[in-house]
């Protein structure tokens, strides 16, 4: 019995130490952000690597999500004779929820795993140690610019996802099914609030950017410097980022739209 309690205690202490270590890592990254932004060349390189290379999957996924929303939305709305509200439904679904959340999940799978593998392999190849021995802080030189780039890229990608999704919904609703184009756009214009809907969606995606970037970099940095360790770390990044994004989405939605 006492052995079980001791093991449980050790497990709890271990978890608490891990949380503390992660929190210190996050605070350090935040503290290094201004310095990273002071070296724009490094951040721009990473924006290209993280943002531009995620663009294709974000745009294609956004378009197909928009297609599906167009079909499903029309199917429901036409029952109540409100097919013209399709534009509003598609826009609100994308701006408030699907844009930030799906873009973040795709980002975690595409850019997050790439970041984790890159940092993990740099560690395994002693590149981070070499940098330390050259009196260059790897967190400032390698991790912080990637963190900044991911946080900047995330809301841009989420906004593009939503914009392309709206076009997809328009394509299916207006061009394919024949919903009135004027009603589609005017209801959207009248019903979407720039700050309440678009603004909150952007805030969500910024938070998801922090979550995904931190998870990817932390897991990569703490990966065992072996092929198996790096492989496990990339999987952990996807799982942890996705769960964290969904958890934070619930909290943020409750805070932003719960009162309404």
């Amino acid at each position: 019995m006492s052995a079980v309690a001791a093991r449980l205690g050790a497990w709890v202490l271990d978890r608490l130490a891990g949380i503390g270590h992660g929190a210190r890592f996050f605070i350090r990254l935040l503290a290094l952000l201004p310095g990273a932004l002071g070296r724009p060349r490094l951040v721009i390189d990473q924006l290209h690597f993280i943002g531009n290379r995620s663009l294709s999957i974000i745009l294609v996924s956004g378009l197909f999500v928009g297609f599906v929303l167009g079909f499903q939305g029309y199917y429901i709305l036409q029952r109540y004779g409100s097919a013209e509200a399709l534009g509003l439904m598609v826009a609100l679904s994308l701006l408030r929820e699907l844009g930030p959340v799906v873009a973040a999940l795709l980002f975690a799978g595409r850019a997050g795993t790439s970041l984790t593998a890159e940092i993990g392999l740099m560690k395994a190849g002693e590149q981070l140690s070499a940098m330390e021995m050259m009196a260059v802080d790897p967190m400032a030189r390698v991790l912080a610019p990637r963190f900044a780039a991911a946080v900047i890229a995330m809301p841009v990608l989420a906004t593009l996802f939503s914009a392309v999704g709206v076009i997809g919904g328009w394509g299916v609703g207006v061009l394919l099914i024949g919903v009135d184009a004027g009603g589609f756009w005017s209801q959207m214009q009248a019903g979407v609030d720039v700050f309440g809907d678009l603004g909150n969606g952007v805030i969500k995606s910024v938070v998801f950017g922090f979550v995904c970037a931190f998870t990817a970099l932390y897991v990569g940095h703490e990966a065992q410097p072996t092929p198996e360790g790096v492989s496990r770390a990339t999987t952990t990044t996807v799982v942890a980022s996705s769960l964290a994004v969904l958890g934070f989405d619930f909290i943020l939605t409750a805070l932003m739209f719960g009162a309404a």
Partner: protein
């Protein structure tokens, strides 16, 4: 200084046969490990290690795999902290330094990692330019000249535009060496510089270690278990075994030693103080055979 370095290196490169430098005057140690103890999670790895390296010396740390040689380099670089004892570099206790002071000290160190540890996303040129860009505000033209001179010193000026993935293991080691000397550090550390190299690359790296050390007036600490090359370039050799210094002296003194551990290590003998078999119960027990 740079021009002088270049001239000296060019002359040194012409020399084909290397030998250990003449004995140095009795100067205070530039690097010292004093009564050092270190271990991981209660398991001792280094016990009461004391060794010194003076300015201008090439000091080799030799010993079997897992004897704690690389750990000594990491302790000297401040990546690890000793459990007891001191590691001093140019009079400063490395283990007592804070982050800023440690980073300042590391600018005076150059380290060659076992497999080079080149930045794979940067070209050979950019790898060598990296410390110059990070620690100096030199104009681009001067950085270019310095990098090309460093690369020329290791014979790889012609590989400046290549990526690390496009050079061989030996060449990668030489690029890493050029990067390590980019800031002309007074201390150079080499972690297994000869591991996995063909004989020509091995001879080239050995030659460069001695030549660069003499040209820079630096101190070199070489962690290795490659006996012939190391004995050709080292001023002093420390032999580690079981976490302790088991023998030390000039290469000639070690060759003349009758210590069983030294003899076994130098001749690569299977029989000696270091057992081939890791301690285990009798094999008959494991196989379930009657004894």
């Amino acid at each position: 200084m740079t021009a002088l370095l270049h001239c000296v290196l060019t002359d040194a490169r012409a020399a084909r046969n290397l030998s250990a430098a003449a004995p140095l005057p009795d100067t205070p140690p530039f690097v010292s490990f004093e009564a050092l103890h270190f271990g991981y999670a209660g398991r001792p790895l280094l016990r009461d290690v004391t060794l010194h390296a003076r300015r201008g010396e090439v000091v080799a740390l030799m010993g079997g795999s897992g004897s704690g040689k690389t750990t000594l380099l990491r302790l000297l670089g401040g990546q690890l902290r000793a459990n007891a004892g001191r590691v001093c570099f140019d009079g400063q206790d490395v283990g007592a330094l804070g982050r800023e002071a440690l980073y300042r000290l590391r600018r005076r160190m150059g380290m060659l990692f076992q497999f080079g540890a080149l930045f794979t996303d940067l070209s050979v040129f950019e790898n060598v330019a990296f410390p110059l860009r990070e620690h100096t505000r030199l104009p681009e033209s001067m950085i270019r000249d310095l990098v090309l001179m460093k690369l020329d010193a290791v014979g790889l000026r012609g590989a400046a535009a290549l990526l690390p993935s496009q050079v061989s293991g030996g060449m990668a080691r030489r690029v890493a060496l050029a990067r390590a000397i980019a800031l002309d550090p007074p201390l150079l550390m080499y972690d297994e510089p000869f591991a996995g190299l063909d004989p020509i690359s091995l001879g080239t790296i050995a030659h460069l270690i001695r030549a660069l050390n003499d040209a820079l007036g630096a101190t070199s600490i070489v962690v290795t278990h490659d006996v012939p090359e190391t004995f050709a370039i080292a001023d002093r050799v420390y032999l580690l075994g079981d976490g302790r210094i088991v023998a030390s002296g000039t290469p000639d003194a070690l060759r003349a030693s009758s210590d069983p551990y030294v003899l076994q290590f130098l001749h690569g003998s299977r029989d000696g103080p270091v057992q081939f078999h890791r301690p285990a119960p009798p094999i008959a027990d494991d196989l379930g055979l009657p004894r």
